[in-house]
């Protein structure tokens, strides 16, 4: 076998590039698709890509939760909202409005800042490999009811208040 001028990518790198391409493609569809429903579908693809990144990083619980919550609940909710909004279901809607130039500048600046931060922080290369059959969820659950019980309960309370508030706002006053 002749020497290659560059090292062969590992399997993980190949899979990661495919997943990243899917995520970026989904995100671009969200922004650029002329049809709002296609944007929602692009969002689903992007969520799947992010979930796959979590799974590549051996955080299966977060990856599966990502699919469960973002694809199963939030995307369905978004799709329902789009479908029930009259006039948006069929036909093209322009994905741009007057402020698209400003938005483009701000997002590209944010991207540059993020790139600068990500490339300057010394990330720990690879931590301890997770042993076979190690239950990440058990540790997570224990942390939720011991050290982080108050933030956890506060978050739950916040969601409950948001839920009640949404019902009050949406109620039909007669």
């Amino acid at each position: 076998m002749p020497e290659l001028p560059f090292p062969l990518p590992t399997v993980q790198q190949v899979i990661f590039s495919m997943v990243a391409a899917l995520t970026v493609f989904g995100a671009l569809v969200v922004v650029l698709a002329p049809n709002l429903f296609h944007s929602a579908l692009g969002l689903v693809a992007a969520f799947f890509g992010v979930a796959s990144v979590y799974i590549i990083a051996e955080a299966e619980f977060i990856g599966v939760s990502q699919v469960l919550i973002y694809v199963g609940a939030i995307s369905t909710l978004i799709t329902f909202a789009i479908m029930l909004t009259r006039g948006m279901m069929f036909g093209a809607t322009s994905p741009r409005n007057r402020q698209w130039g400003t938005a483009a500048i701000i997002t590209s600046l944010t991207f540059l800042v993020l790139v600068a931060i990500v490339s300057s922080v010394p990330w720990p290369a690879v931590g301890e490999p997770i042993s076979q059959g190690h239950e990440i969820i058990a540790g997570l659950g224990r942390a939720f009811v011991n050290e982080y019980v108050i933030p956890f309960l506060l978050l739950a309370m916040l969601l409950l208040v948001a839920l009640a508030g949404a019902i009050v706002l949406a109620r039909d006053y007669k």
Binding site: T10, V11, N35, F37, H38, L41, V44, E60, F61, V64, S65, V67, L68, V71, G72, A73, S75, T76, T79, F80, M83, M89, F90, G133, H134, E135, I136, I137, A138
Partner: protein, 410 residues
């Protein structure tokens, strides 16, 4: 030894170089996935045949009996017919979602195969979040229904899509809560560990009948009812209520694309049965399964086919419910009962009692749930029966020579 380890070892023995370990592993998993996915597609033919035979026996017919022995190849002939049909795409359909939806619905169902333990060492991937993974896969089916309903550009299909999504979302909640009961008891979400925990040791001998259904009959009942709705099987099959609603979200589909939705539906009911077997009916456990590993897959498939036949039996026996009855039953009966059951189980498991007393209390709580579900259903059916009798009683008084009473308001 795991099947994948055995296959990897076989490849090295055949002369695969050690440096290409990633390729060897990839080939191994590809072989596993290929066999599983194709076996599932062939299995669907068998499942449809079973459904037809069971339903026709219930209806006092013989069922398919012309093509092949016992009519076994009837489904093959039907599949060939569907393949040769014209493949129509409506002119104003949204091409992307219209064409992607059938594929997505089948993919979402087939992915469940990855975590189902067929035997002590026969499992695609022993994820430690397997139960959650199975729940997350349901969201793919929901997206497929929405995409099909919207992409067909037909208002009936869109309405049916909404209906199906409402049904799937509502019944997912009691199903997940019922699946939580064995997870709490075993303390793991891995399907393989849940199967292993259902052994029953008599001294050193594994009897293999420590099935969780004996401890958690209430959770099993809630799971079974919710799974029927998730699989869109008959008491809850508003998806394909041909006689009342025009078909459903697949109204614009024809040929093989139409068949794919049905393929997904049959496989889904089989896999939900398989999950019930793993969580409640002991998985591959059974007498002598620990001594003779070959018995594991046999026990597993036998139990799963049994659950499938029971589902078809229910399909042949029960009338279809209305959408409002279905939603009420999910939100007012199943969800509160499942929540109460899980809360009771959590409290009971933390009580400082001897373990057998804990189990006894757990069983009592579950039996209470079973009695509650049956009571509520029974009184509801009684009320409905009285109401429908009244509704169909002759109201016209022509010929009875009685003065018409105008005050009655019904």
């Amino acid at each position: 030894m795991n099947w994948s380890d055995a296959l990897i070892q076989l490849q090295y023995d055949l002369g695969a170089p050690q440096e290409l370990s990633w390729l060897v592993e990839g080939v191994t998993y590809f072989i596993g996935a290929f066999i599983l996915a194709n076996a599932a597609l062939i299995l669907a033919l068998l499942l449809i045949w079973i459904t037809r035979k069971v339903i026709s026996r219930i209806q006092d017919r013989i069922g398919p009996n012309r093509v092949g022995p016992y009519g076994l190849f009837q489904t093959v002939a039907d599949a060939l017919k569907l393949l040769s049909k014209e493949d129509i795409t409506p002119a104003s359909a949204d091409k992307i979602s219209y064409l992607l939806a059938p594929v997505l619905s089948v993919v979402g169902v087939l992915m469940a195969l990855a975590v189902i333990p067929f035997g002590p060492a026969l499992i695609g991937a022993d994820l430690n979040v397997a139960v959650l993974y199975l729940v997350a896969l349901g969201s793919l089916g929901i997206m497929a229904a929405l995409m099909a309903g919207w992409g067909s550009n037909n208002k009936y299909a869109l309405l049916a899509g909404f209906r199906v999504v409402a049904q799937l979302l509502s019944y997912e909640i009691p199903m997940v809560l019922a699946m939580l009961a064995p997870v709490l008891l075993v303390g793991s979400m891995s399907m393989q560990r849940i199967s292993e925990a259902q052994a029953l040791y008599l001294g050193p001998i594994n009897l293999g009948i420590g099935w969780l259904i004996f401890l958690l009959p209430g959770a099993f009942l809630i799971y079974l009812i919710a799974a029927l709705a998730e699989a869109e099987q008959t008491p809850f099959d508003l998806l394909e209520a041909e006689s009342e609603l025009i078909a459903g979200f697949h109204i614009e589909y024809s040929g093989m694309k139409f068949a794919m939705f049905f393929l997904a539906q049959f496989l889904n009911s089989f896999f939900l049965g398989a999950i019930a077997v793993v969580l409640f009916l002991g998985g591959w456990q059974g007498p002598f399964a620990a001594q003779i590993p070959l018995l594991g897959p046999i026990y597993f498939l036998a139990k799963t086919f049994l659950v499938y036949v029971v589902i078809q039996w229910i399909k042949g026996t029960f009338p279809r419910v209305r959408i409002d009855q279905m939603m009420q039953f999910a939100w007012k009966v199943l969800v509160p009962l499942a929540l109460a059951l899980i809360t009771a189980q959590m409290i009971i498991m933390k009580l400082p009692l001897p373990i057998w007393l804990n189990y006894l209390l757990l069983l009592a709580a579950n039996l209470a749930v079973v009695v509650a579900v049956l009571n509520i259903l029974g009184s509801y059916f009684e009320r409905e029966q009285v109401r429908s009798k009244r509704a169909f009683a002759p109201r016209s008084l022509i010929g009875t020579m009685q003065p018409v009473q105008s005050s009655s308001g019904d």
